[in-house]
C-alpha cells in the first residue's frame, strides 16, 4: 500500500468513528443513536484492517454490527415510542457537567502525553506475516490463553441464561394456572391451588420485582 491511500483510508475511518460517536451520544432518537454506533463500529473495523488485525476486524463486524447493534434495535422497537426520554431535571445539571469536565481534563492530559512522547515511539516494525490472522490468533488462544478462553465461554452461557431470566420476568405456570374446571379432581390439591393462584396473580403485578429483592 502506498502512503496517500493509507492516509486517506485512515481519514475516512476517523471521520466515520468520530461522526458515529457524536451521533450516538447526541441523538435524541435512540434508533439514530444505534445507527451512529454502527457507523463508529464500521470505522473501527477499518482501523483494525490498517493495524493488520484482520481477524478482529471480521469479529468486530460480525459481533458488534451483526449482533449487538441488532439487539439494541430489537429492544428499541420493543419499547416503542417510550424509548425516547425527555431531558433530565435541571437540578442535577451542575454535577453532570462537573463530571464531564473531569473526564475532559483527564482526556486532554492523556492526549498531551501522547503528543509529547511522539518522537520517542520508534517507527513501526514490519508486521510478521501471521499477525492478526486466524491462525496466528487461534494458536495463542488455544495454547497460552486457553483458561480465559474457556472462562469466556462459561461467561457467555451464564449471560444468556441470566438475560433470559431477567428479561422474561415472572411468568404464570400454565400447569397450575389452568382453570380449575378443566382439571381432574385428583390433580387439584384444594388448599394448595388457591394459594398458588393468589401468588401467581401477585407476581404479575409490576411492583413485585422490587419486593422480592
Amino acid at each position: 500500500m502506498n502512503k496517500p491511500f493509507d492516509l486517506v483510508f485512515f481519514g475516512v475511518c476517523t471521520l466515520l468513528v468520530l461522526l458515529g460517536g457524536v451521533g450516538t451520544v447526541a441523538a435524541k432518537n435512540p434508533i439514530r443513536g444505534a445507527m451512529g454506533l454502527l457507523t463508529a463500529i464500521v470505522g473501527i473495523a477499518g482501523m483494525y484492517l490498517q493495524l493488520s488485525a484482520e481477524f478482529l476486524a471480521a469479529i468486530q463486524i460480525i459481533v458488534y454490527a451483526g449482533a449487538i447493534v441488532v439487539l439494541f434495535l430489537f429492544v428499541i422497537m420493543l419499547l416503542g415510542p417510550q424509548a425516547t426520554t425527555s431531558a433530565g431535571a435541571a437540578g442535577t445539571k451542575l454535577s453532570r457537567y462537573f463530571g464531564a469536565g473531569v473526564f475532559l481534563f483527564g482526556a486532554a492530559g492523556a492526549m498531551s502525553l501522547v503528543w509529547r512522547t511522539r518522537t520517542e515511539i520508534a517507527a513501526l516494525p514490519k508486521a510478521p506475516a501471521n499477525l492478526g490472522t486466524v491462525e496466528g490468533i487461534g494458536r495463542e488462544l488455544f495454547t497460552t490463553h486457553i483458561v480465559p478462553f474457556e472462562l469466556s465461554g462459561a461467561l457467555l452461557l451464564i449471560a444468556v441464561v441470566g438475560a433470559v431470566a431477567v428479561a422474561r420476568g415472572k411468568q404464570p405456570d400454565p400447569t397450575r394456572d389452568a382453570p380449575e374446571a378443566t382439571l381432574p379432581e385428583a390433580a387439584k390439591g384444594p388448599p394448595l391451588t388457591a394459594s398458588v393462584s393468589a401468588t401467581a396473580a401477585e407476581t404479575n403485578a409490576p411492583h413485585v420485582h422490587v419486593e422480592e429483592a
Binding site: 468513528v17 468520530l18 447526541a26 444505534a34 442535577t92 464531564a100 515511539i121 514490519k126 490463553h145
Partner: protein, 103 residues
C-alpha cells in the same frame, strides 16, 4: 505495511473514549448509556490493537481485545434485559427514575 503512525490511532481512541464518557455522564436514556459504554469499550479495543501492532512479537493485545468483545456482548445482553425489566416496572427508561432503593 501501514504507513499511518500509531499515535494517530491512539488519539482517535482517546477522543472516542471521551465522547463515550461524556455521553455516559450527560445522557439520561438507559439505552444511550449502554451505547456509550460500547463506544468506550471499542476505543479501548482500538488502543489494545494499536499497541499490539507496535509490539508484533505476539498477539497479546489482540487476544485481550477479543475477550473484551466477548464480555461486551455479554454485557449488552444482560444490560438490555435489565432495561426491559426496568421498563416493565417503571414504564420509562429514564435513568433518574431508578430510585426505588432510595427510600
Amino acid at each position: 505495511m501501514s504507513t499511518v503512525p500509531v499515535e494517530y490511532f491512539l488519539i482517535v481512541a482517546a477522543v472516542l473514549f471521551v465522547i463515550g464518557s461524556v455521553g455516559f455522564l450527560l445522557r439520561r436514556n438507559l439505552l444511550v448509556l449502554l451505547m456509550s459504554i460500547e463506544l468506550m469499550l471499542n476505543s479501548v479495543n482500538l488502543t489494545l490493537v494499536a499497541f499490539n501492532r507496535l509490539h508484533p512479537a505476539n498477539h497479546d493485545g489482540q487476544n485481550l481485545a477479543f475477550f473484551v468483545i466477548a464480555v461486551a456482548a455479554a454485557e449488552a445482553a444482560v444490560g438490555l434485559a435489565i432495561v426491559l425489566a426496568f421498563f416493565r416496572v417503571r414504564k420509562t427508561i429514564h435513568s433518574d427514575e431508578a430510585n426505588l432503593l432510595k427510600n
